[in-house]
Amino acid sequence: MLWEAVRLAYTAIIRNKLRSFLTVLGVVIGVAAVIAMVTVGEGSSAQVKASVERLGTNVLVLRPGRARMGPPSAEPVPRFTLKDAAALAELSIVAQVAPQANGTYSLVAGNANSSAQVSGTTADYLKVQNWPLALGRAFEPGEEAAGASVCILGQTVRDKLFGSSDPLGESLRVRGLACEVIGVLSARGAGSFGQDQDEVVLIPVKTMHRRLQGDTNVGSISVALLKSVDSATGIRAVQALMRDRRDIEIGAADDFSVTDMKDFNNLLSGVNSVMAGLLSAVAAVSLLVGGIGIMNIMLVSVTERTREIGIRLAVGASGGQVLMQFLIEAIVLSVLGGAIGIGLGLALAWGGSIYLAVPFTPSAMVIALAFGFSAVVGVVFGFFPARRAARMDPIEALRHQ
């Protein structure tokens, strides 16, 4: 009997292909939206979570300039220097310090050329960032002190310039500077904002200063705190030292900022979960609208098929059997819509993940849930029309033209 009803529903749906499609369009769009949004959302949450986990200890990032919103201040702010980094390294609560002097430069290796962010830094940068090498070695202390022409490549740069060949020992020209490739970083993927973290070249900071930048400014300083130190204590100590070094009077505001990377990532995942909540609300509304669409067409269908219902009742169908027939038709419709929506949603999520450079992580639970919800939509919104069909008076129904 159940199978008969499914078969009947299928025939009725196939008979009116265009109408059936339009009927379920609401559910298709609703489910596709949920699947796409949740899948992309989970991908980006996973990414933020991964970057939180990568930072083994608390990392503070210091930048010159006030931490405030709005246009940058007109008065010049003193830059950081390598001496600031050295002073920070003296603090007892600090594990490692890595100064960074950044710039974007053109890169040439053989016939291939590209451009990337070039960071002048120290070997400790890899420890602060908890970023292992895939190939080769880090800078030697001697190379750092001498400002040697050596560089470490991010995976994207390696792929672009050297393809699958071994880059170690090869020469890379960074603007005018020819340097030897001594290492390759492991792949890290997209950052919290979707930027490619692997599109980077590391060189010793002194090399950066002398050969590329032409001054001794340090753009930012990353400070890894000891595991035993909580970030609030760390921030206070770092602020006190820097205020002292920069001669900021008591009561005056800092002219530099200290960002706790963990807080920052937690904030990002907070934003992500708010987004997920909003998206779920949108999804619920679109499923509701889709359900009303199904109810509407099912009501029309019941009216159109009054005579058929009369015939079925006359030959001995009970009200319950007629109810089941129409309910199953509504469920088959909405589940069909759900299935199309899942396919469409996964395709959208796949495209979106590539575009936003987040991992594509389809979740079986979300798919099952979307499928379940579309079935529930069929039951809820199919019930009223089905009950109307079941309660028909067979005599009236047979008389209906």
Binding site: E308, I311, R312, V315, G316, S318, P394
Partner: protein, 238 residues
């Protein structure tokens, strides 16, 4: 062989009344009618429109219930049964043939005949076998796959009769079965019903307004203004 009423008649009306509406607008379609129909009878019901003959048919067919009086089908008081229990009676003991055929469009003849068997919960192969057998009895073997739209009126009515027959009913109720057919087709259908009554022992109750059609029956009941005004054996045709 006008069957003598057995101890428990198949159909028994006792002072059956049916009225629609209430108060001033109340219409009495049937005003206290009593009769019995035994197993194996072939009854023609006649009367002008509004005489109550359709109401009587609907009550016999368990599609409607009397508002007063008693209707016993095989001794079961139908007036006390709800929709679903009456559906059960229709499913297991009654077959309907309508003036407008009432076949499901876009379903093959075989599928149409299978319809009541689905509600009986029979497995697909049993249904198919019974439906084929019923189509054979009405002379439509070879047309199982045809759509109603591919069949003539007479053939469509045969499919409808096969549908009524397939479930092995005690009674076939035919409401103006020849009303949409030409004279030649009408007589073919009547000879078919007559044969089913004679050979299968199926009781047939038929509403008609054509005298020649009524002559195929063995008993004639005439309704006028909600009363049974004539009830007599049909004379052999000259």
């Amino acid at each position: 062989m006008s069957a003598p009423a057995p101890s428990t008649p198949l159909i028994a009306f006792r002072d059956v009344a049916r009225s629609y509406g209430a108060g001033e607008a109340e219409v009495k379609a049937l005003a206290g009618v009593s009769f019995q129909i035994g197993a194996g009878e072939f009854v023609a019901i006649m009367g002008p429109s509004g005489s109550g003959k359709s109401t009587a048919m609907n009550i016999i067919g368990c599609l409607d219930r009397p508002s007063a009086g008693e209707y016993l089908f095989k001794g079961i008081p139908v007036q006390g049964l709800d929709q679903d229990r009456r559906a059960l009676l229709r499913r297991h003991a009654l077959g309907f043939v309508f003036q407008g055929f009432n076949l499901l469009p876009r379903q093959s003849a075989l599928e149409n005949v299978e319809l009541p068997l689905i509600y009986k919960g029979l497995p697909a192969d049993t249904r198919r076998a019974l439906a084929r057998e019923a189509l054979r009895k009405v002379g439509l073997d070879g047309r199982e796959g045809h759509d109603p739209s591919q069949l003539s009126g007479g053939q469509q009515q045969r499919v409808a009769i096969a549908r009524a027959l397939a479930g092995g009913p005690s009674v076939i109720l035919a409401d103006e079965p020849t009303g949409n057919l030409d004279s030649a087709r009408s007589h073919e259908i009547m000879r078919l019903l007559q044969a089913l009554n004679r050979d299968e022992g199926i009781t047939i109750v038929m509403v008609t307004h054509e005298d020649p059609i009524a002559h195929y029956a063995k008993r004639l009941m005439v309704f006028t203004d909600g009363h049974l005004t004539r009830d007599e054996p049909v004379r052999e045709r000259a």
